[in-house]
Symmetry: D2
Subunit: 423 residues, 4 copies
């Protein structure tokens, strides 16, 4: 066996292990659910957890097995349509807003589907001639599955949180780590490099690495806290049109929005629903589950502004000094099983920070070819970029160049605010 073959075999062995580890985490995240929790779709944005388990499986089947494995036969013809999210080039797809109408396939049938595809894929990787293009698709598939792990947590939280019985995902107390930091960190005017290189995995939308000229700015070292946000509310923030974008004002009035998604006022006290139960509002934890509209209104009220995505990337990259990282690692080891932000001082990994940047292709952007052409580019309209990862983001899935994106009214993700200002 040549060295090259050996190295290749090692790489494949490693990828299989990664595949099994990541796939197992998806089902593990659901272990605390009742069958009924897997099934419902309270709003169009929130998919039934069982759908996520099916769709991520479909992704590997459709992108790798069907196209590249000789004599592969699909687990079920009907799943081709049912678990296609939106890929027009992969044929018809079931409407997103109607995922919760389907009681079948059952959770148990979907688990069988997962097992079938896992077995086939491992078999395929172990035995077939797998070229680098396929390995690249596999890598994307794994990152895709991790994206859905975050979505699973978001959707589970919504499903439990909209229930008047306020069921708990699992009980746990929330520690609150506070590290004293300087309030603002300054950055000079000048040319910066933005985006990812090809040296390690990144999505097409993070490339190419390119120059961006930024004016001098300062970034807050602290995430906006529940306490600060409560001040905004108590100062009439939701009633002062001058603070709001025009669309945001209409949105908050039409939907009678007066506080972050999971806040509840009970007997005149504020509580926050978390995956770990309904808890008294912790004033020094980061505010989360807010829309772009709310983030922007808050920034206006504060006399500051939201950062651009370039500024956030510059800030995040600069934040990765060793001492901080070691703090964060300690933190994240601990938070492995906590799905709620516990610190307003950390530069990343707590809440996705809204940027004021519209989600658009970088200069020279080249979308994936084939079916995955639809992965990112077609959503570059009416969405804003968020940066920095959150407690629900798998830590080995996160990168500083990562561009998350949502419509300005959405807030069921773990979104938050980091303020910037001109200097």
């Amino acid at each position: 066996m040549s060295k090259q073959q050996l190295s290749r075999n090692n790489k494949i062995t490693h990828l299989i292990a990664e595949y099994l580890r990541i796939r197992a985490r998806s089902t593990a995240l659901c272990e605390r659910l009742e069958v009924e929790d897997y099934t419902v779709q309270p709003i169009a944005d929130v998919s039934p957890p069982k759908w996520h388990l099916g769709h991520t499986t479909w992704f590997f089947e459709e992108v790798i097995l069907v196209k590249h494995m000789v004599d592969y036969s699909r687990y079920h013809q009907g799943y081709r349509t049912l678990f296609n999210s939106y890929y027009k080039s992969a044929g018809a797809h079931w409407l997103q807003s109607q995922r919760g109408e389907l009681s079948r396939p059952t959770v148990s049938e979907i688990m069988s589907y997962r097992n079938y595809v896992d077995k086939q894929l491992v078999n395929f990787l172990s035995t077939a001639e797998v070229d680098s293009a396929i390995l690249s698709l596999l890598e994307i598939g794994l990152h895709h599955e991790q994206q859905h792990q975050e979505l699973l947590l978001m959707d589970i939280k919504y499903i439990l949180g909209c229930n008047p019985l306020s069921p708990t995902y699992f009980e746990s107390s929330l520690d609150n780590t506070h590290i004293e930091t300087a309030p603002w960190r300054s950055f000079d005017e000048g040319m910066y490099e933005i985006g990812a290189t090809d040296s390690s995995f990144a999505y097409d939308n993070e490339k190419p690495k390119h120059k961006s000229y930024n004016y001098a700015f300062a970034m807050s070292e602290q995430l906006v806290t529940n306490g600060e946000y409560l001040d905004f509310i108590q100062d009439g923030g939701y009633d002062r049109a001058e603070l709001w974008l025009s669309l945001g004002w209409d949105w908050s009035n039409d939907n009678k929005i007066g506080h972050p998604l999971y806040w509840q006022k009970i007997d005149n006290e504020w509580y926050e629903f978390t995956l770990h139960g309904l808890m008294p509002l912790a004033l020094n934890l980061p505010v989360t589950h807010i829309s772009y509209f709310e983030a922007d209104a808050f920034a206006n009220w504060k006399g500051k502004r939201l950062p651009t995505e370039q500024e956030l990337e510059v800030y995040l990259s600069a934040s990765s000094d060793l001492e901080r990282i070691s703090n964060i690692k300690t933190q994240s080891a601990k938070s492995a099983d906590i799905f709620h932000p516990t610190s307003s001082d950390m530069p990343f990994g707590q809440v996705w920070c809204w940027s004021k940047s519209h989600y658009s292709g970088y200069p020279g952007y080249k979308p994936y070819q084939g079916m995955l052409n639809e992965y990112n580019g077609k959503f570059m309209c009416n969405q804003f970029v968020l940066r920095g990862g959150c407690v629900a983001t798998p830590s080995d899935h996160y990168r500083h160049s990562y561009r998350n994106f949502f419509a300005p009214h959405q807030r069921w993700m773990f979104s938050g605010i980091r303020l910037a200002k001109d200097i």
Copy 2:
């Protein structure tokens, strides 16, 4: 023990037995479901089966136990709202259209709720001084539960039928019984008595018995069949505005309606989804799952008309001659486990027949008092009456005076057509 006491005790013993029998049938109807099937709500009209199981329990709790049992304590405070369907006088109620958003309480928790209330109610009936007003509420509660048994079958059918995988409730072949009958049965002009007396159970909306002057008419002895309805389709019935009510024309165009709810065309052949599987369309079985709009358009196409509800009641009452009844009994013994019409010749018990009568109070109508005031009267607007029962109606729940009612666009119930004509 006096004779009166003895008779009273016997009556209570009998009612307890009835209660347990009827309650058990509700859960028995669900035994063939997967947990996921209990949970979803594909359209607002169709409630999750688990909601029906909770709501019928709530009804006994709210109407009897909470009001009449000393020291009764509710199973769960939250259920008061969650399982209230629409009774404003019973406090807040969860929105009908959002029943499918709730994964909790689980099926298993609802079964515990049923057990708790059953135990309490049996205990209450066995030991407390139960007056006739309470027994009357109990009787209504049992009929209410039986109404929901029909709704359960309708909703289960919709949940399975809207699923592209076409799951089967349970497999069974459908016999087709055909009895030769005269095509039309005539009735003279004159005064008829319509409605129910107090001699046995009937809802408030079936009373009082009253005089109604009817002109001479003839009623078809045959239900309209799938074959006849197919002729209507093939003759362009859905494309000819002159056959349709104005609202019906808009409805069929806006919703792209071109056939009964559960018909499917596969490879140019017609199939019908039933609770017993997807089957080739049986041309001589009664057409079912059609709206008032379709029934009315069909009647116009045929040059006939829909009957009034008075005409249907006159016809149904006249149909109960002994020989026919014995046929029907044989039939219904057999059909105990078949939830699809098997004969177009039977006068009742196959499909609910649309009448052209708007649902309204009879002359001298007195609604129930108290919370049950909301049982019938408040729905007397924009609905049409259907008569004759269907295969999903519990046979001991059915009466010729029974007035079912639905909005003219609805068709997920087992509705069909019996034509009438002036003579």
Copy 3:
């Protein structure tokens, strides 16, 4: 010239005069409008006045001239579609809800259209062989035009009334005639004749005359007044679910209804917008512009009920004793130019009274043939009958057998309440 010919010629001469008189009234009703008032459509139900002027003209063109006049050429090909209201058999029609989108044809062009058709029609009647079928269509056309005269007043009122500047149609003071009457008039149980004969003009939906068995009832001799309705409001009528139909409760909550359509509260005083200006609410005038939902809730609050349409027809027919008629005539001479009810004591001609009867075909109902088949029958769904005429109804258009009909939420017509009760 034979006698028959003479009589025929006289009849035609008379019809031409009637035609010109009635046509002139339509434009006369609009003389007080600004061009802008002719053009807008604030809600789908309310058509621009210029559309009414065009449509009534189209009716004569389409039903008579195009079909029966040799060599007739349409005034404008485009009007065939633009002024067709809903007759599917007459080809395409412009959507009702989009009539207000069209600035053209202008008012002045529509006036030319009217002149053209009038000239052609008079010429046709004067010179052609006009058979009785055509004369019958002409008669329908004239009644159709008179129906639209009432609609014009309703629509003009809405257009002015929804304007925050509250423009006045024309100024006039409203007298208030009060005749003392017995409060209730009783009718015996028994068989009554309902409907119109062929002896004089009536629409198809008023026929055939037929027997109807009514139970004993009493009808209020007084229309419900603004004062009584205000009591209902002040007693929390709009907030008490138990008084309302289920659909009505949803309607009033969804639309935040808390008073009749044209009432306004200014500086804590009630006013009513009328065609003669905004006036302080006159407590002893009949309440008007209320929906079926409101009328039904009011009746429930009062412990009475709405009458059936048969009861109203019996009452109206019985009310035509000579003395009363002479009163009414005096009244109506005076009210020729007043388009607001001025008396709660008159049996008819003030406000259309809601009946609890669904609009449906009478026993033996035969709709018109041809295009006019769509005149009445296709609307027999989800509407309630109103009886008795109103101040906007041309007096020579009114009959006791007249069946007006509206959906239960509509209230821009001059609708009101006359209560009934069982005796």
Copy 4:
């Protein structure tokens, strides 16, 4: 009189002349309308022309007279609300979507309102101490009025164009000027200056002038023509999901979009509705009235891309060489009365070119203070920037730094496509 006073007086005299000239043009643009054309609002985006005439007047009244003129009394209290477009800080405003519901005030009343305000304003300018802050507001007011002149033409076109009678604004033949140009113009990578300085009038959103680093690109010297766009349609452009943004695909399917807004196919020939009548589609004129979604799909089909707004500004500024300007001037002299693009070769002034840039504040952006704070900033969400002006833009209102913006589905403005590519 000091020199300074003299210069100031001259400046005021000049501004008064400008004011009268610009105000007169607004009414002149409407002279060809019928009264009915001033009044309707076929879709929410399109305001009745009379509303524009009122609103622009309200702007001067509200921003200058009410705040700065001693003893000024409003023309009509009700107009304060009726003609407020969306300024929350100026109190309540009539809903945009309901402007077409109002027949009053009439056109003639609005003309009186204009005259009143004009007289007062001229008087105020001539006699009061008018400081530079007020002059600055006046300047904004004049540009605001010019913006509405373009809107007037857009809205008039829509009102006439949606009418099935296709009325003509005024007749005129469209010349087609074709100048041979090189197909692409290249620009080097490097730092560019973007935005307006304070040396002449510009809106707040065009400032501050700032550095932007652009990669090398080439801009097409030709606007995309109707002929090229027709090729896109005939190549199935509207049916190929892979060319479309996700939101765009849904938009085009939901609204059954298959061609630019004003194209019509009659007897298999393409026509285009213009303000000068319905004309056979001119293949070498610029395509116009297309949405961002369509522009983006076209660019994808062509294998090119839409430019950024920075690239467009760089291109426009570079295009202003003398020879070209003289061509353009000749052209624009001629086109003074033509409101349809006549050349695909001109760098600006033909159709607004969609950029791929989201409408956002420039680095260091400072919005106006006071009521005009709402002029631009609050719309910086879900809109895209267009550059280059169009035939409906007053030529003295246009600047290369001008940022027009619309939502990606809108297309009733004179929008078009100029392609870019990376080099």
